[in-house]
Amino acid sequence: GAVEMVSGTTGTVPPRDPADRTLRIIVTESEPYQEPTKIAQKLLAAQGWELKPTYVTDIIQPNQAVDEGAFDVNFFQHVAYLKQFNKDYDTSVVPLFYVYALPGGLYSDRHASIEDIPEGATVALPVDPSNNGRAILLLREAGLITLRREPESVIEVSQSLIAQNPRNLRLVELDQQALLNTRQDVDLGFLSLRNAAVLGLTREDALVFEDGESERPFRILVGTRPEFAGTEAARMLREAYQSAEVRQWFAGYQGGTLPLPWDADAEKDYAQV
């Protein structure tokens, strides 16, 4: 399991007091993170646990903070990102369980199919490294570009890996969220399922989409330090996030479009992606 495969700075973090019934969680800001957290907070409170969330927008600090022991768990990232992060920063954050999955696709306001994408078209990629490579892999899947070699991880992929770009696509990198407002100005752009839903789009509207197996690396997990993984607290937390109440909330959120892979084994996915 995960506990054996990671090494790092965990030795320096003082162990959690088993009697401690507070949980510090660092969460990214956005509805599907914040609202389930609020629900979990209520549920845990009913059982005498206090869940103390801190909301951030950065994507580096949450792993650092958990790794250092400043927080018990974090909830902001998908599997692929965590894996690469641990490698780059020599941290040892492990996946605990999933909350939801966030596949994405390439969407267009202007063109109905990949074939219509013209010479010199503008393509928007997410600028953040957790999603940048996804969009590039989707471009390859659509046959618009080729890569110099097969990447080890989606996170490793960046524009510099592109070998051929026969249609001379102009790739621009921007904040994912900004694309919601700027999509009229691009021919093709990456949207996560959630952002697509905000615009009233479904997976079917995408010109290419991360369906089936390719969705796996992009499941959103709750991460923690290895020694926290087996604890009572971890179990309570999972129960709260994977509760009927949360399920119900997701059912009402953007037409219930986000998958909830609660039974999937996050550790196994982590090992495989």
Partner: protein, 224 residues
């Protein structure tokens, strides 16, 4: 509308917290920036080309350090000083933690304001003070700062207003604040009405600071 009001009641406490976080950031960062930026600005002026005591070499070094700190994009400054932040506030996440880079950012910025304000003063009064055998410290305290006071208050006002919007970046590391609230609800969650409420609060805060600062500066200025 009723729906919006319900929502407002719901997030009310969070809104209040955010506002308080911003006020807290201001209350800590601005006094420190003024408190340390002013002597630094004085130093830059007095040791600079037209200062009381031009020391080209060391001035060049301090000037360069000020430039270096001012060069860093906020995000990178934030990361670069993490060890320092941890040393000072014991954590690197949250409001207290983000105040550290915000303050570090503001100090050399304000120093430039002060340097510039001192450079605008009439050289005649400094001459008079020199003729009276004032020490450098006395010239600075009793003459330069006295005449520059209105300008310094005006500059602090400009900085504080900048800071209110700039501090929205606190959200990166859980610092919260009203600007971050606006971004979270407006940009990440699409609850435009809540964003508008937050922005209106920011505007009100800016108006209070700007109007108060301008009045104060005028009251200090005895030249007419």
């Amino acid at each position: 509308m009723a729906e919006f009001l319900d929502r407002l009641v719901e997030v009310g406490p969070e809104l209040a917290t955010s506002l308080w976080q911003t006020v807290l950031m201001l209350l800590i960062a601005i006094p420190i920036a003024v408190g340390l930026g002013t002597p630094l600005g004085i130093w830059l002026h007095t040791h600079g080309p037209r200062g009381l005591q031009h020391t080209p070499r060391i001035h060049r070094i301090v000037d360069a350090i000020v430039n270096v700190v001012r060069s860093f994009p906020f995000l990178i400054l934030l990361i670069a000083i993490i060890p320092f932040t941890r040393f000072v506030v014991g954590t690197t996440i949250g409001t207290a933690a983000v105040i550290v880079p915000l303050t570090i950012n503001a100090i050399p910025y304000f120093a430039r304001f002060v340097e510039q304000n001192l450079g605008q003063l009439d050289p005649g009064v400094v001459e008079a003070a020199r003729a009276m055998g004032a020490t450098r410290g006395q010239i600075i305290r009793d003459v330069l700062l006295v005449d520059a006071k209105p300008a310094i208050v005006g500059s602090a006002t400009i900085m504080t207003v900048s800071f209110i919007s700039y501090s929205a970046m606190a959200g990166l590391v859980g610092g919260g604040g009203i600007g971050d609230f606006a971004i979270r609800y407006g940009y990440y969650r699409y609850e435009l009405p809540l964003m508008v409420v937050a922005i209106v609060l920011m505007i009100a805060l800016v108006a209070v600071v700007q109007t108060g600062g301008a009045r104060w500066a005028r009251a200090l200025d005895k030249r007419r």
